[in-house]
């Protein structure tokens, strides 16, 4: 009963996302075109260096990795950091924190409510593009299991990172610069264009310690081909970085609400 209100929050967000069908269709189209571009890019790249595989991954493997990583990454929209920033700036946060629910949990379940329909549409359209351009993927039971575990954790990690960034609005008003840095961190090290497996070795070793590969790249990488050691490493990174992100979000929220003044009315 205590937590049923959060399920209701999630349900409302599912309905709200489904209502915006034109947005979902637009996003699906964008994801499909992106997969088309990636297929073209990596086909040309592999052809240029006369290779069929790099570090054991062929073009189809790379494309499927990007299909998954892009679909997962796009599913968290609208961006939690921007939503929280708007609430802090506009003052509507004062309304929310007076309600009988946890502000952070409210947004957590809202986020998962948005993720559900977005993920279905994105993965459906991107996978269709993947099948058309490079054929069916070969996903084993082990890789599916590992991928799903990492996927769930990556959404939690993404939410709390975005949440912490949005809460910085208590001090900086505008958090767009932090949001860009976060998204670009995901873009560069999160395997959204260039999978980490294709990075130069030295850079890859450094990047593996960052939170970004532990997000959407990790489930994508494991879904394409299972690697037990890599699974354990990504899980360890996810647990470590999620703990840091949760602590940051809670700390920033508690410090930030002290600055909120309510005048009634």
């Amino acid at each position: 009963m205590r937590y049923s209100k959060y399920l209701s929050v999630a349900k409302i967000n599912v309905t709200e996302r489904l209502h915006h069908s034109s947005n979902l269709a637009g996003r699906a189209l964008v994801v499909m075109v992106r997969i088309w571009i990636f297929t073209t890019l990596y086909t040309a790249t592999y052809r240029t260096i006369h290779a069929t595989t790099i570090h054991g991954i062929d073009v189809a493997g790379i494309v499927w990795m990007l299909v998954f990583a892009q679909s997962f990454r796009q599913s968290g929209w609208p961006n939690t950091a921007a939503i929280i920033e708007t609430e802090v700036k506009s003052g509507t946060l004062a309304y929310s924190i007076n309600r009988p629910y946890s502000y952070l949990l409210f947004h957590f379940w809202s986020y998962f409510g948005r993720v559900g329909p977005n993920l279905l549409i994105n993965i459906g359209s991107a996978a269709l593009a993947g099948i058309i351009f490079v054929g069916w993927p070969s996903i084993s039971l082990a890789s599916a299991g590992a991928g799903l575990v990492l996927l769930a954790m990556s959404f939690v990690l993404d939410f709390f990172c975005a949440c912490a960034i949005g809460l910085l609005a208590f001090w900086t008003e505008d958090t767009s610069a932090f949001q860009w840095l976060y998204f670009k961190g995901q873009l560069i090290f999160g395997g959204l264009v260039l999978p980490l497996a294709l990075f130069p070795d030295a850079l890859r070793r450094v990047a593996e310690w960052l939170p970004f590969p532990a997000m959407f790249y990790s489930p994508a990488r494991l879904l394409v081909s299972y690697d037990g050691a890599l699974f354990k490493w990504f899980l360890l990174m996810q647990v470590a970085w999620t703990s840091v992100a949760i602590l940051m979000a809670v700390f920033l929220f508690r410090r930030g609400v002290r600055n909120v003044e309510m005048n009634g009315g």
Binding site: S22, N23, V33, R34, T45, T172, V193, L194
Partner: protein, 267 residues
């Protein structure tokens, strides 16, 4: 009033709007600096991604890091031209949905121009700085290449503006199109950062007729790498067509607008 006098007046007013918007943003100095530097770092991050890519794969069909540097310079400069001076074009869908167009309709000025010029994207100043930075650092700079860089980016900005207005004006026909419009624009930017010589056949047709990256990325890059008058002519013609189509489509779509009778106080 003579057409050229009318155009000069519009340009002057646009510059005045932009100046006022920038001065207003500078009131919050920290926020202003964070936005500009943030965008600069943001663009540098994308450049870094491609730098890493070309460290792993030194060339794609002969396309190398310097080509990508040229591409990024022209694309970000075009973007900054559009969004420093005409940011409102990217907000049309939101303005229509919120019924805020009433405000602009009450003025004798052209609605599309007024909506577009009334807002400025401050972080786009960071894009402009990045564009000049990467151009001077990584491309062969001569007087000619610099002039071509400015002219090609300006013409590409015309195409980008036209595309923005058309996609945003879809809000007159269907509600909740904001995210989709933004996605389409991001797709245009997305096309603009990939090696352009990989786009052939069907995907090239898409970049010419659907998402006009051929005009905002391929031709500007080609003009700086290997200048040719016909290519410049095609780009300028594309810009004129894009802006004309945008104006006509917006005017036609505006007939569908229904006032929300929104009452707001503007500062």
């Amino acid at each position: 009033m003579l057409p050229w006098k009318h155009a000069v007046k519009r340009i002057r007013l646009s510059l005045y709007f932009t100046r006022t918007n920038i001065l207003a943003a500078m009131e919050f100095r920290t926020s202003f600096i964070v936005q500009v530097i943030g965008m600069l770092v943001n663009d540098a991050a994308v450049a870094m991604l491609w730098y890493i890519f070309f460290q792993s794969f030194p060339g794609v069909n002969g396309w190398g890091w310097q080509d990508t540097a040229i591409l990024m310079a022209t694309s970000t400069l075009s973007f900054s031209f559009v969004f420093i001076f005409f940011k409102g074009a990217g907000d049309i869908a939101v303005i229509v949905r919120q019924g805020e167009l009433d405000y602009y309709l009450a003025f004798p000025a052209d609605v599309l121009w007024h909506v577009s010029a009334s807002r400025s994207r401050i972080d786009a100043i960071g894009d402009a700085l990045f564009a000049f930075g990467i151009f001077f650092l990584f491309t062969p700079v001569t007087f000619v290449t610099f002039a071509v860089f400015l002219i090609a980016s300006l013409a590409a900005a015309g195409v980008m503006y036209g595309f923005t207005v058309v996609t945003q004006s879809l809000a007159f026909y269907t509600p909740n199109i904001e995210d989709a419009s933004r996605d389409l624009f991001e797709l245009l930017l997305g096309f603009s950062f990939y090696p352009q010589n990989i786009f052939t056949g069907g995907i090239r047709a898409v970049t010419i007729f659907v998402i006009p990256a051929f005009f905002t990325a391929t031709i500007p890059h080609r003009l700086i790498a290997h200048f040719a008058w016909p290519a410049l002519g095609v780009l300028v013609l594309a810009a004129i067509i894009a802006v004309t189509v945008a104006i006509l489509f917006f005017r036609y779509s505006l007939r569908r607008y229904e006032s929300g009778n929104l009452m707001v106080t503007r500062g």
